[in-house]
Amino acid sequence: MNETVVTVQDFRKVYGDFVAVDGISFHARRGEIFGLLGPNGAGKTSTLECLEGLRRADGGRLDIMGVDPGRDTRRLQNLIGVQLQTSGLPADMSVAEAMKFFCAYHGVAPRFDLLERLGLGEKLRSTYHELSTGQQRRLALALAVAHQPPIVILDEPTAGLDVASRVELHALMQELRDAGSSILLATHDMAEAEKMTDRVAILLKGRIVATGSPRELTATGAGFTKVSVRSENAALSHDNVSFPAVGKHVLKDAYDIYFSTDPAPTVSAILEYLAAHDDKLIDLRVERPSLEERFLEITAA
């Protein structure tokens, strides 16, 4: 589980005078979903394209299970499955033809079960240009994982997908992870990153500005944790009492809402206060700042 399968070390990518990626380093382990987050132009796609062997690195070291993506593309193709952000298939190629075509090049049997699973079972005879954007993306995903690669690279995989497809895609990603595959996921969707990834790196202007698990990142921010309390006698509202680490207090829909920089002592103090005033707790909610809020905080800084 701790085996490193993707290593990016001091990686640089330049286009003319423009430095797209400026010496970033990270690694992904076997069986983990690693997220690359960042605004447009942060360097996510450049990084992924160099890992996919589509572009050459201008500095540093890239390694995918012992293979240099810039040199040994033949070996690389069996190690990775890629869903590109922008790609295409011939307009006249049917869904079934695409599956047979690419599986033959990978030397595996066509995976029509995957097409069925991703809701393309009834579209086998449809040509690529007859598919909707969401169906095209699902087909691209099916083709990416059909040869069961140990590393899957997904660039904005859920862009343009409806809710049902998104849920199915997330379930498939979980399955791949459980089966030991590693997933590199570039996404703008913070809720998706928070739900799906084990660790993330936040890129900004070609540099990594934060790394860690979504939980670690949201816990270390300056953002407030929202503590919402409702009690039988509403003692907190009547007394208008202050608690440790609380920056702001509001009353909304019979809830006392405290914005705390350190929720543990805040919650302890609230519970002690209610017990001391013989007030019965009805509801208590602790909501950490979301990854999106933390992301905005980091990128704004």
Binding site: D92, F101, F102
Partner: protein, 270 residues
């Protein structure tokens, strides 16, 4: 092998079901052949002597130069080659298989022309059918290479048309298809020797029809063969998966090296 068969079958079917490719591979060459057979043979009865090779060369030029490069350029621009690359399709297959299937379509049309020209329009049959087939194959190979090379170096649909027409239009005018090279003004004949159609026509007439030619037919045959090898070699060398790729090998002007065998052809003009 399965991958090759799948790829070949897909490209071959595309040549039939894609309306533009169907037009270039079959409809346009056969319609032009019918028109020339019906009209040109009435206007100029001598045209019957060269009807078969002229129409076969025309069919090969249309399918390889006008039909083939466009889909290659579109596929590169639409990111299709990127999808192919990450799924393990070799660059060689991307160029060679469409070229092979285009040549295959051109040869089917050539066979149709060869089998019907005599009975339908009184076209002269070749004296040596073996040489006729060989010249048809080398012509398709040379033009297929040029089509692949244009597909590789063209940066968009406009430049594709420009490069294709740079060869196709002069071939129609001074390439020996409608008018024998011997009847061209002296000043234009060297330019004619720079065209694949001229050498194809000379090879057909000299080797398959045993007629007097303006260029040594064996030299023309060899020029076409060398052109084919050079064009495919350059196409593979200059091939780019992606127009945004910054790791391109060589400059696209290297493609002009393909003219070298034809420059040599000028020295074989009689």
């Amino acid at each position: 092998m399965t991958a090759f068969v799948n790829h070949f079958a897909f490209e071959f079917k595309t040549g039939l079901r894609n309306p533009t490719q169907m037009l270039m591979n079959y409809l346009f060459p056969l319609a032009f052949y019918a028109l020339m057979g019906l009209v040109m043979t009435q206007i100029n009865p001598d045209f019957k002597e060269t009807l078969l090779p002229a129409m076969i060369i025309f069919a090969v030029l249309v399918s390889t130069l006008l039909g083939m490069p466009g889909p290659l350029v579109e596929a590169r621009e639409a990111g299709i080659f990127r999808s192919f690359k990450i799924n393990g399709v070799p660059a060689l297959s991307i160029l060679a298989i469409p070229a092979l299937t285009t040549i295959f379509h051109a040869l089917i049309v050539s066979a149709l022309i060869a089998l019907t020209a005599s009975s339908l329009f009184g076209g002269a049959a070749p004296v040596d059918w073996g040489s006729f087939v060989l010249v048809a194959l080398v012509t398709a190979f040379a033009c297929g290479g040029l089509g692949a090379l244009i597909g590789v170096i063209a940066t968009g649909s406009r430049s594709t048309v420009l490069w294709s027409q740079l060869i196709f239009l002069p071939s129609m005018l001074i390439g020996g298809l409608m008018l024998p090279v011997s009847l061209l003004p002296e000043s234009i004949r060297p330019a004619s020797a720079l065209l694949p159609s001229t050498h194809a026509m000379q090879a057909f007439l000299g080797l398959a029809y045993r007629q007097e030619t303006s260029i040594d037919p064996l030299a023309s045959f060899l020029i076409l063969a060398v052109n084919g090898i050079l064009a495919f070699g350059l196409a593979i060398y200059l091939f780019n998966w992606d127009s945004r790729n910054d790791a391109r090998r060589g400059h696209s002007l290297m493609a002009l090296l393909v003219v070298v065998p034809y420059l040599a052809g000028i020295f074989f003009l009689k």
